[in-house]
């Protein structure tokens, strides 16, 4: 009997899933179309009216979207070998690896630091100001130091880049972990006390699971920050294979082939979205909590 009842429900659930997926894809297409329309419309209007504020619009400052897409399927003028898309995919993959390692390092370090700061008040008072001020030092100033220092230890250059990326990653994770761990429900803590639970148990079975939503919102920020860190870190490391290398290169030839730089930016953006979505997927699997509308 149960199976009879379950079957149509499973069917209905699948239908609902397909419908919501279709709605999402439709929405995505619509958003892209609107963005495309804005870009081309703005371009058209500014060129027709000859407006120069805030900047002169021409094929250098705002190439056509279709030109950018077309550039992906041409060999870049300066280079030899594969079409731009293939080259960029290699570069994206290269940068993704740096960013992923940087993200993992930064998230782990950030989480552990957050736990340490929350468990030891004294440490928090002593260390937190430095953690905060670390983020006021621009990444562009930190990157060369990391490269020189790690280079003298004969560490592979891509790993230096990962460390630079982790520098941008750890901070939001630390702050949110700390906040999450300290906002544990008071009665939930009393319950643990009534069981005479040790500090590690309280941390592991209560504080950390309760902090997960906070931690994940930080990871979403960090996931994209790690890509920015990796791209910026490639320049002082003189890495040519990554997106950062391509950006520096195409930047020099911007007036000749602006489409190339735009195409590279597009790939960087797609990589960022992929990282973000990956975190969201892990979040839906890991975080079990009441839907917002349930008290």
């Amino acid at each position: 009997m149960a199976t009879i009842a379950a079957e149509p429900r499973a069917d209905r659930r699948r239908a609902a899933f397909v419908r919501s997926a279709a709605a999402r894809i439709g929405m995505l297409v619509l958003v892209l179309a609107v963005l495309w329309g804005f870009w081309e419309g703005y371009r058209w209007l500014w060129i027709r009216e000859g407006w120069t504020w805030p900047f002169v619009v021409d094929s250098t400052t705002m190439p056509h979207i279709h030109d950018i897409l077309a550039a992906l399927f041409r060999k870049p003028t300066s280079g030899t070998g594969d079409i731009l898309l293939v080259q960029l995919l290699h570069a994206t993959w290269f940068t993704a690896k740096e960013a992923l390692v940087g993200f993992a390092l930064g998230a782990t370090f950030g989480f552990l630091l957050g736990v340490a700061l929350s468990e030891w008040r004294l440490l928090q008072r002593g260390l937190l100001p430095y953690v905060v001020s670390s983020q006021t030092v621009p990444i562009l100033a930190v990157a060369p130091i990391v490269v020189v220092y790690l280079g003298s230890l004969h560490v592979a250059p891509w790993f230096s880049v990962a460390v630079i990326a982790s520098y941008l990653t750890f901070f939001p994770v630390t702050i949110n972990t700390l906040r999450g761990l300290q906002s544990t429900d008071r009665r939930a803590l009393e319950l643990m006390r009534s069981y005479a639970a040790g500090r590690v148990s309280v941390l592991w079975k209560l504080r950390i699971p309760a902090a997960l939503p906070y931690i994940f919102s930080a990871l979403k920020v960090s996931a994209t920050a790690s890509i920015v860190g990796a791209i910026i870190g490639e320049a002082p490391s003189s890495i040519q294979e990554g997106l950062g290398g391509f950006i520096v290169n195409f930047n020099q030839y911007y007036s000749l082939n602006p489409e190339n730089l735009w195409a590279t930016n597009l790939m960087a953006a797609l990589l960022g979205i992929a990282f973000f979505v990956a975190v969201v997927i892990v979040e839906t699997i890991v975080v079990r909590r009441a839907p917002e509308n349930v008290a």
């Binding site: 009534s194 069981y195 005479a196 699971p209 309760a210 079990r288």
Partner: protein
């Protein structure tokens, strides 16, 4: 031997609020004692002192013959709060097994006990639901199952049914009595409802506020086991009236209402 022995307990909070003063109470094995009194008279405070969740500023509390902190360390009591306080990220089964995990029971023993508890609170089939998928009454039953899972000698309950509607509440009362009989534990129960206190208890402790004191202790000699019909017995109404009068005697407001003339005179 008393399960709970409260001797001359007082509690003054840091702010200077004296929540309790001169509390004397001994609770025997298998008793069901209700604490009743107006809001703010220190019922929760007293319960939390017994559970060593806070320390008294005067007097001593012994549970199972041991000082309260020792009893807490030995996990001698289970506690049920006014809200269920379930962990959202744990299923019903894993919420119930939380104290068992902390007491380092092995997985097989835990699973067996959780099943037993689910049957006891009539939640079989809900083990893999999450708390937010349950009604308030079901959540409260999970929290009772969790408190009972490790077989504590003493169960401390702070207005566990406060948030429920009257019908659910009466049903939960009957279930609680059934559980009490089956488990053989001693219960200290805080409530605002006179009828609930009389229906459930073997003894009702009436408290008065500012500072919180015990103003009366009333033996409830209704026949055991109690059923829905108990609520219709004349003796039930007599006892309800007894408790109500005791409550009103202990309250400042009623004292003033009873003697308005005396108040008016300079």
């Amino acid at each position: 031997m008393s399960v709970v022995e409260i001797k001359d307990v007082g509690k003054t909070f840091e702010g200077g609020t004296t929540a309790l003063e001169g509390i004397e109470l001994a609770i025997g094995e298998r008793e069901f004692v209700s604490l009743i009194g107006p809001s703010g008279c220190g019922k929760s405070t007293l319960l939390r002192i017994v559970g060593d969740l806070i320390r008294p500023t005067a007097g001593t509390v012994r549970v199972n013959g041991k000082p309260a902190p020792q009893a807490r360390a030995d996990r001698d009591y289970g506690i049920v709060f006014q809200d269920a306080v379930l962990y959202d990220w744990r299923t019903v089964a894993r919420n119930i097994s939380l104290p068992l995990e902390l007491a380092r029971w092995n997985r097989r023993r835990r699973t067996g006990r959780v099943q037993e508890m689910l049957r006891l609170v009539e939640l079989g089939g809900f083990e893999s639901h999450y708390p937010w998928q349950l009604s308030g009454g079901m959540q409260q039953r999970v929290s009772i199952a969790r408190a009972l899972s490790f077989d504590p000698a003493l169960l401390l309950m702070d207005e566990p049914f406060g948030a429920l509607d009257e019908m659910t509440r009466e049903r939960m009362n009957l279930e609680l009595l059934r559980i009490w009989e089956a488990s053989g534990s001693t219960i200290v129960f805080v409530t605002h409802s006179i009828a609930e206190a009389v229906f459930l208890s073997t003894r009702v402790v009436v408290m008065s506020p500012r500072p919180g004191r015990i103003s009366d202790v009333i033996e409830i000699d209704l026949q055991q086991p109690r059923t829905a019909a108990t609520r219709e017995e004349p003796r039930f109404f007599e006892l309800v009236t007894r408790v109500r009068e005791a409550l009103h005697l202990g309250s400042d407001l009623d004292r003033k209402l009873a003697a308005p003339a005396a108040e008016a005179q300079p």
